[in-house]
Structures are given as structure tokens and as C-alpha cells.
């Protein structure tokens, strides 16, 4: 049914490219057939039976019906349930204002930490790094963050950050790092042990056992944006052989 779309999977498309769906001509009364509707991810917009591309990028597909545009972008737009690295910019009354790299600062309540109560306030200062997830993130409202999951546990979220380096990379690179079978991550694992916090807003925090190793990893990650896979593997191999 989506043959015209499926032909273009893996191809580069531009805003304005359109796909039209033909609906079935005959409806079988005996069959329990529901017309298949495509699920549009980021970069695709649907109106009636037309699908229009709104961002330039590569068309990706996940069976059965999910399509989206994989684009190279640097600017982050908050989305619900995404985990991001934020920088606390101010404390006012009961909430912290956190900079997540979007158009607005997000708010983080002091009660949204594990084990926090009105008497037991969390130890969060201005300038701290927090790893949190969005509970409210749409275009009309101020984004809201929490550092606990549904059951009240921290689950890796919260304040962090002594002794590491924070860098900004493209959103495509963080998605590639967080993918289940990530080439970049497996290459990094073979280099030397390090701690990585990856935020979906394009921010990565790195800490290795020495400052030199931290700097090497941060330079590698920033260059991964512009290298192809073979070039990247070449760089990693040179580093491993070069030794430190």
C-alpha cells in the first residue's frame, strides 16, 4: 500500500516532496480489514491521504507502518519522555529553572528528586548539571522536567558532574550513540574505560580516569559528526595503536 513511500526508504528527500495514498476501491464486507494508515514520525506531515516531507534528511522505516525523516540538526526542541542534560540557571521558590538548549528554559520542581520531601530538600546549586526527563513538553506550554521515573526511583537521573567535560554535538550523533546496536559505542568501549552521560538535547558529558583521556574522547566524539564510518574506525585504530 505504501509502495511509493517504501521505494524511497534510505533516500535523501527535501521539504515539499509529496506522497499520495490510494485508498482501496472495494471494501470486503466479510473481511475484518482495517485500512492501513502510516504512522508519521518527525519530519513528515500527514493531511488526508497525502504525506508531505517537512525536513530534509534520509527516509527511515520501521515495519509495519512507521516512517520518519532522519535529519542532521543541532538545535533541540523538547519532546515528552526524552532524557536530557540540563544546566541549572536559577532557583526561585520551589522550582529550579534549567537550560536544556531549547527556546525556553524548563522548570524542575525540587520535589521531583528521589527521596525529596518538603523538609529534605535536594542539594542542587546554580550551575549544576542534571540528567532529567520531560513530563510536559509541547509547543504551547513551558517544558517541565523530573528526575524520577513513574515509580519514584531515580533510575540514573539527578545531579552529576564532578570532574568531567560537557560537549555539544549534533542530535543525529546522540541518537546514533543511544541506538541499541551502536557502532560508535562499541568502538569507544574498546578504547579505555570512561563514564558517558548522553542527553538527547545534543549534550554529552565525558569523564575518564585522566584529563588527557577525557579530552581525547571528547575530541573523538565531536569529530564523529563529520566522519564516515570507515574514517571513524581508522581514527580509533590509530589511537589504539598509538597508545598513551
Amino acid at each position: 500500500m505504501f509502495s511509493s513511500l517504501k521505494e524511497k526508504i534510505g533516500e535523501v528527500l527535501l521539504p515539499g516532496d509529496e506522497f499520495v495514498f490510494e485508498s482501496e476501491d472495494t471494501i470486503f464486507l466479510t473481511d475484518n480489514v482495517k485500512p492501513e494508515r502510516p504512522v508519521c514520525g518527525p519530519g513528515l506531515r500527514q493531511s488526508g491521504n497525502r504525506l508531505v516531507v517537512s525536513k530534509s534528511g534520509v527516509l527511515r522505516h520501521k515495519p509495519p507502518h512507521t516512517f520518519w525523516m532522519d535529519s542532521q540538526q543541532w538545535r533541540y526542541v523538547p519532546a515528552k519522555a526524552e532524557t536530557v542534560i540540563g544546566i541549572v540557571t536559577s532557583k526561585s521558590g520551589d522550582i529550579f529553572k534549567v537550560d536544556v538548549g531549547g527556546s525556553e528554559q524548563a522548570s524542575l520542581s525540587y520535589l521531583a528528586f528521589e527521596g525529596a520531601t518538603k523538609r529534605n530538600r535536594p542539594n542542587v546549586q546554580v550551575g549544576d548539571l542534571v540528567f532529567a526527563q520531560f513530563t510536559v513538553a509541547n509547543k504551547d506550554m513551558e517544558p517541565e522536567l523530573v528526575c524520577i521515573d513513574g515509580s519514584g526511583r531515580a533510575n540514573g537521573m539527578g545531579v552529576f558532574g564532578g570532574g568531567g567535560l560537557l560537549l555539544k554535538v549534533s542530535l543525529g550523533l546522540v541518537r546514533r550513540l543511544l541506538a541499541p546496536q551502536s557502532d560508535i559505542r562499541s568502538d569507544l568501549e574498546q578504547l579505555f574505560p570512561c563514564e558517558l552521560v548522553v542527553g538527547m538535547n545534543g549534550r554529552i558529558w565525558v569523564r575518564a580516569s585522566t584529563i588527557q583521556q577525557t579530552l581525547i574522547i571528547s575530541n573523538l566524539l565531536q569529530s564523529c559528526d563529520t566522519l564516515t564510518a570507515p574514517q571513524r574506525r581508522e581514527q580509533f585504530r590509530k589511537l589504539q595503536k598509538g597508545g598513551l
Binding site: L14, R45, K55, S56, G57, R75, V77
Partner: protein
């Protein structure tokens, strides 16, 4: 940052956003687009302001501004070299910059300039020398989906027939520009495919 080149005319475009906007400038249901055109020498004057308006109206028609209410989008165009067809070069640079920044657009657009010489012949993408000797100068912004005119800016005197011929010439020339956009984006993503 995108470098737009039209013959020798060269414009660099940078897009910033969606970012915070001053309360006085915010619009409750869509983004506020600001275009700044910096000439090569001297401060921006009234001519640059009118060119900024042309670019801004074209961009607002192509962008999906309602996806970012109460945010600001800033487009800065720096003229590196002006040898004619400046406005269409700015439009091309603007479109590529917006597309590259990942802002949602309903269609792409391109700018084409036509000059009508003293003897009535139509020159597409004139140089500064050709512009000076022309009887009329027109710039059109053409959209990528239906090749219609989104914006027109004209100077000089011409007949309705000549206007229609220039529109046809521009629509034909826009094919090459859109093909260039497609090739550039393909090259950009070829590293990560």
C-alpha cells in the same frame, strides 16, 4: 552557515533558532522571524530593509511557523560580494540555511532575477553591468511544489507580456536551482548513509 553563490555574487546565511524571544516581539501562536541583511560595506540602510522584508515574507510563507509559538527565528545574511542578482542570491542562501538548520518547511523556494535589456531581450541572472543597462529588473521567488511565484520585486517599466515571459523564464531557471539543492543535500547526507 550557508554560502550562496550566483556567478560572482556571494552571500553567507546563518539561521539561529528556535530561541527565546522578547515579550514585546512574541506572537502567541507562531514563531517570530527576523531577517537581517548586512551589506559588504557600511551600515544597513533603507534598501537593505526593503530586501529584508522581501526575504522575510517569502520565508514566512514557506516555513511552518505554527510549530514554534512564542519563539524567535533569526536569519542573518551577510553580503560577501555583490555583482548583480543580489536579492535572488539572498533568497537561495536563506532557503538552504533554513533547510539545513532542520526547521520544518512546507516547500522550498528559490530566487531568480530577470533583466529586460534596452532592446527587449530577457537576461536571467544578470551581472551588475547588465543590471545597470537594463530597462527593467525583476526578482521572483518560485516555490518548489508547483513552481508558482511566491514573491516578486520589480524595478523599471515593462509590459504585461514581458512580465509573463520573465515569469516563464524564471520558472524554467528555478529547476536548475532546485536540482542544485537536492544534489547538495545528498552530498551532505552521503557521509552518514
Amino acid at each position: 552557515m550557508i554560502d550562496g553563490r550566483d556567478g560572482d555574487t556571494s552571500v553567507m546565511a546563518g539561521v539561529y533558532g528556535p530561541a527565546e524571544v522578547k515579550v514585546s516581539k512574541e506572537i502567541y501562536d507562531r514563531a517570530t522571524l527576523e531577517v537581517l541583511l548586512q551589506p559588504k560595506v557600511g551600515p544597513a540602510g533603507v534598501r537593505e530593509q526593503s530586501q529584508e522584508q522581501c526575504v522575510r515574507e517569502t520565508c514566512e510563507a514557506a516555513l511552518l511557523l505554527s510549530l514554534h509559538p512564542r519563539s524567535s527565528l533569526t536569519l542573518i545574511l551577510q553580503v560577501l560580494h555583490d555583482d548583480g542578482s543580489l536579492l535572488s542570491c539572498c533568497l537561495n542562501a536563506a532557503c538552504m540555511a533554513l533547510m539545513d538548520a532542520g526547521l520544518s518547511m512546507s516547500c522550498l523556494f528559490c530566487g531568480v532575477t530577470c533583466a529586460i535589456g534596452a532592446d527587449g531581450d530577457i537576461i536571467a541572472d544578470p551581472t551588475a553591468a547588465q543590471e545597470k543597462e537594463s530597462r527593467a529588473l525583476m526578482t521572483f521567488a518560485i516555490d518548489s511544489t508547483e513552481r508558482r511565484v511566491m514573491m516578486s520585486s520589480t524595478k523599471g517599466s515593462f509590459s504585461v507580456q514581458e512580465l509573463q515571459e520573465c515569469v516563464a523564464v524564471s520558472q524554467k531557471a528555478s529547476e536548475k536551482v532546485f536540482q542544485f539543492y537536492r544534489d547538495s543535500v545528498r552530498r551532505r547526507y552521503s557521509k552518514n548513509l
